[in-house]
Symmetry: C2
Subunit: 401 residues, 2 copies
């Protein structure tokens, strides 16, 4: 993990020495997100992808309001997953026209809020048509919709498969023509398609293949559309490396492929803008989780660094959020970056459960109480994806630096 | 699952029809905990265990304030895992003398709060002695302590092993004599031992064996104690059935064994009161998670009931909290208890992740939007053990009925 520079033997976050940042925050544990790294990541994508491709931030990955506001200034749109996220996006100043709303269980009240806000709803069920039409009529506003498609293929080698076979997400590709007909009859404002085949993928060839298939499927489905396709969200699925041996995703072939698709789109769907929707890839590597060692215990020859942070703040790093086999997230003693390990140790939290394990038998620089343990790759699916009320230790602070 | 009666085709919670309760709560999803079932469970334990054995409630299992207040009136003491839980226990009216505090990473401020409150601290590290002595001196109050021992054996067949080998919990048995000497020199008010070998165990023979071993270990360690043993917490570990084929724990042999141990204690540790500390066993079966079906989707032949609840409220039921292999929690359509299934279906939540799965291919009564899905065995490690902020859908309500 080299995205955070080291100075004076300490990690630098947003150019600030980690111990100074901890003093500024005033308490541990905390999450710190680096504005410069967020901007740099968006810049790398802009450089690698065709100019015409729009970037959306899926804020479910990290809905911290200040971070969403920062991202809203960098990307072309925000994807929300609930009315709660919609409020944060609007408060952050995101342009409602460039906000889209996806989710398999949207409530009628949420659909009404979406129409009132003027955002785009990714329809995932025949059931959503009637409440959208009713809200549109009651408010005198168009119900802007795209269709989220459950493709008839999957994204290979994905952390999570989100398409292919039966799924709760989207509408099966083979049912989409009928859905489009109903959307037309209900007078909803059709704008396009959302296809999303999987997530956390590190293989560019698999992403290229899925984007090509999604594009071809959208072309076929567009023949049944009640209006021209203007929005063509080909999903995301770009992964970040977490574990030893994993390599960063190669953006070049993805950019080349999208350039071809954009050319074809210009011919065949001339009003369509291609959108890539990313969450983890945009924010995951820009974040750290920082906790303080409060005890160093040696039990039967094994060293435990007991910290004030743990599973309740960072469930994924404990290996309890969808992982089949627990692996260590990259970690370090953030104020002893030049230290050398004299052996392995485990980093645990204050909870009365053996699940509360942040690092299992890792070689870390020799550390003492007061030192700061840092978990890298913590900018996505951290604080909000964790059971922060568990055992009453209180929530982690989040700072954007 | 027969602890909740059925009337008029609906589950009864605290004697109230489920649909009426849902109307009273005013929104879904919610957790409902049944006061009568909580009292009944304590009564069953009182009947099966010797009168002299004290029951403690480990409130980490469910810290809802009203429930803790109810439990405080039923049991003999409360175990807390943080200063946050201590506040709830004190607010609930628990007697500070009968509150104990365990946890591998207690902070100095928490130790001071514990001394100020007059509760018993289960010391888990040599490091805790100095701040306890300092707090005692500063406040002019005794620092009441017991020693949490990491035994040199484990509780067989446990859901989680909490003793034996290297552990972050407690102090290794072989280091305890030295710890006791330091406690004596520091002038802390020694009261006894806490031994805890594992959790969620359904085999009475394994629990009996562990309690016997814990007792014998405590006897040996008592020889090095700076004061008579008055508190002898033999842990808990009593499991509840979650999955097909699991049987309720047989309390009779545990009661017989504790009767023998209590007799021996009367001879060898005449001031000692035996404590059994239970969390999940006291509250787990008295709780339901209730969510409402908002959509019924058929995707490629498979039926999905999409509800307004899910992983964000009930992580354990989704199979993502320490489980190696996902199994379905017992579930039902709570307002169609007399209905018969015409096939299998899956119950999912509103989140954009395939992890959001409450029931995977289960035979459930045929149901429609508006019906109420109920997850049984949800009284422990539910709301607070879940990432309630995930995707911004809001927290579940909790009611004590």
């Amino acid at each position: 993990m080299d995205q955070f520079p080291v100075g004076n033997g300490e990690l630098l976050v947003g150019g600030i020495l980690l111990t100074r940042l901890a003093a500024r925050v005033g308490r541990t544990p905390f999450y710190a997100y680096d504005r410069q790294l967020l901007a740099r990541r968006v810049g790398e994508l802009r450089a690698a992808l065709p100019r015409s491709v729009k970037l959306h931030y899926a804020m479910k990955a990290n809905p911290m309001p200040a971070l969403v506001a920062h991202m809203a200034g960098l990307v072309d749109g925000i994807d929300v997953a609930s009315a709660g996220e919609l409020k944060v996006a609007l408060d952050a100043g995101a342009d409602p026209h460039e906000i889209s709303f996806a989710g398999p269980g949207k409530q009628d009240a949420e659909l009404t809020q979406a129409v009132a806000a003027g955002i785009l709803v990714n329809v995932e069920s025949f059931r959503e048509i009637a409440p959208l039409a009713a809200a549109s009529q009651a408010l005198g506003l168009p119900a802007r919709v795209a269709v989220r498609v459950n493709p008839d293929f999957e994204l290979k080698s994905s952390g999570m498969k989100m398409g292919g076979g039966p799924k709760q997400f989207g509408v099966d590709a083979e049912q989409v023509p009928e859905l489009l007909a109903q959307i037309g009859r209900a007078g909803l404002a059709f704008e396009g398609f959302h296809l999303f085949a999987g997530s956390q993928n590190l293989r560019a060839d698999a992403i290229v293949e899925a984007q090509r298939k999604c594009f071809d499927l959208a072309l076929r489905l567009a023949e049944s559309a009640p209006a021209p396709v203007r929005f063509l969200n080909l999903g995301g699925g770009f992964g970040i490396p977490y574990f030893p041996g994993e390599q960063r995703l190669d953006l070049a072939p993805i950019g080349d492929n999208l350039a071809s698709l954009a050319e074809e789109a210009a011919q065949q769907l001339p009003q369509a803008g291609i959108v890539i929707e990313l969450g983890r890839y945009l924010v995951g590597e820009a974040g750290l989780y920082v906790c303080r060692i409060i005890d160093k215990k040696i039990s039967r020859g094994h060293t435990y660094l007991v910290t004030d942070g743990g599973l309740h703040h960072h469930l994924s790093a404990s290996g309890n959020f969808g992982q089949v086999i627990r692996k260590n997230y990259p970690a370090a003693i953030g104020n002893r970056m030049n230290g050398t390990p004299s052996g392995v140790c485990s980093v645990v939290g204050p909870l009365c459960t053996p699940l509360d394990l942040l690092a299992d038998r890792m070689p870390l620089a020799d550390a003492e109480p007061g030192d700061l343990v840092v978990i890298f790759q913590s900018g996505a699916y951290g604080a909000t994806a964790s059971p922060q009320a568990f055992l009453g230790h209180g929530a982690a602070t989040e700072v954007l630096v």
